[in-house]
Amino acid sequence: MPFQRQGLQGMSKFQSVEFFKKKKNEYSLLPFRFERLDNQRRVLTNLAGEYLVINEGELKAFVNHALEEQSDAYINLRAKHFLVDEKSEVAKELLEIKLRTKYSNLSEFTALHMFVVTLRCEHSCPYCQVSRQSDDKLKFDMTEEIADKAIDFALRSPARAIKIEFQGGEPLLNFPIIQYVVEEANRRKNDKNVSYVIATNLALIDESILKYCKEKSIQISTSLDGPEDLHNNNRPRPGKNSYEKAISGIKMVREHLGVDSVSALMTTTRSSLNRVKEIIDEYLAQDMEGIFLRPLSPYGFALKTKSFKAYGVEEWNKFYEQGLEYIIELNKKGVAFKEYYAATILAKMFTSQDPGYVDLMSPAGIGISAIIYNYDGVVYPSDESRMLAEMGDKSFRLGNVLTNSYEEIFLNEALLGPIEESFAYSVPMCNECAFEDYCGADPVFHHGVHKDFVARKPESQFCNRNMSIFKYLINRMESDQFVKELFMKWGQPHA
């Protein structure tokens, strides 16, 4: 007999079926933000940056506490910490841990220290803001005195592991100072882990330099803009052989230092826009594991030089998406190849570890993630802010290693002001944007283009470009299981 009376209490031994049905409002919302993916679908992100796509009706039902517990949407929302019920009581604690992990790098600043060892360069790239066609070593080379001070600053960083990157101009034109910095930093580093990389066009690489690099485990980063004609057009030098030098240099570096010791970066000029497949093919031909499709900085010489007119966000997005589609196609054919900008964003989507990419950080990565010591001792919080200074805008000049202390540099209002003002949590539109976790503040870009560390986001090229990429990546994952698995691999390479 299923419903037996229990005497005085007047209660049934078994509760009615209705009792066991979950009441629709017995869940609480956890903090989340959402954006429109299209007219039907919304993408939701929680405090830890995990995302979920649901339709408009499901979102309304969810917010109005009318979502059925058995529905797929409910199960997914609970699994990804968008709601809490009696089956998911640890959700808040998990979010706390993920959030804390994500911001842990803030106390581990500054990881990347760029030393501009000379402004001299034998190339004359029209979009380059900084290099000088000069033999005047005294005027444009970093001295030992400046290098010494910059090493002190670098080793003073709270970060346990730092990377020193040698830049120019063409840094190999002042190789003795590179050797000096490596020797001195190694001698003074104590228990800090210091790694080194030279950003070079490879035109001047030779056996003796490579021997030294091997001995000191120095990595090489170079430039490769695509096929020979495109690369040489972008990067003029005497002999018109920049491509040939780069390719033979890559080969030499690999022979001496190993296949993985050289990486390449590209610059997208207007001439690159309709050649993305050829550019990727060139990277494949050079046995690169991936490519970083990155736009030209839209300020400085890039705007001023007529032959390199800047391009708009729509043209860039078309280029980028065509490139990514081609890379997906290659992977579907069994050719493992990666796009690094997407991989950086995907790492933010799928892990709690921030990749520390300066442009995609909030608080802004300037000074926190990277710092640059110019040849003359002047310190800037990013490479782009150095470029701005070369064009006459010294808003981000933090001081000089010869005359200012570490505290004066890092507590300078020229650094703290933009970081504070541009913090996305308190910026109009960013503070409610579902993609805020994947994006960055980039006050240098916004100052350079809009003369404002924050700018109106609907008018910001940075915002429009990144919003488009975030939506594209999510759309592709939602529509193709292969792409989802591929992108998850890119985002979690160590999983």
């Binding site: 609480s28 919302l29 956890l30 903090p31 989340f32 933000r33 959402f34 429109r36 007219n39 919304r42 405090l47 979102l59 309304k60 917010v63 808040k92 979010l95 706390e96 841990i97 959030l99 804390r100 911001y103 842990s104 803030l106 106390s107 109009p428 539109m429 409610e432 109106r456 609907p458 008018e459």
Partner: protein, 99 residues
């Protein structure tokens, strides 16, 4: 070119209208006025905007207002737990003021 939309104050907040307007600032400007229980949005579009585009923008604006309305509900309901999570997350990082 100008257009007008009316919203019932009992249903929509001025805040939602302001946020929806800001999001579209690159395409048009909006002046919001209160007329009795009605909230009036007066849109000004750049001269070159086609009639078709204006209709598209207005439809999009209405959808955005609804989204903003939902965001307000979510924010109200989750504000307490959001602050709790943030304070716990940063309580041992040396980044909060009272340490």
């Amino acid at each position: 070119m100008k257009s007008r939309l009316l919203f019932d104050e009992n249903v929509y907040s001025i805040e939602a209208l302001k946020k929806a307007s800001y999001r579209n600032i690159a395409n048009y400007s909006v002046v919001i006025k209160k007329e009795g229980a009605q909230l009036e949005c007066l849109f000004s579009f750049p001269v070159k905007t086609s009639d078709e585009k204006v209709l598209e923008y207005l439809d999009d604006f209405k959808r955005e207002v609804l989204d903003q309305d939902l965001r307000e509900i979510i924010k109200r309901e989750t504000e307490g737990v959001r602050n709790l999570i943030l304070s716990h997350a940063f309580s041992k990082t040396g980044l909060t003021g009272d340490e």
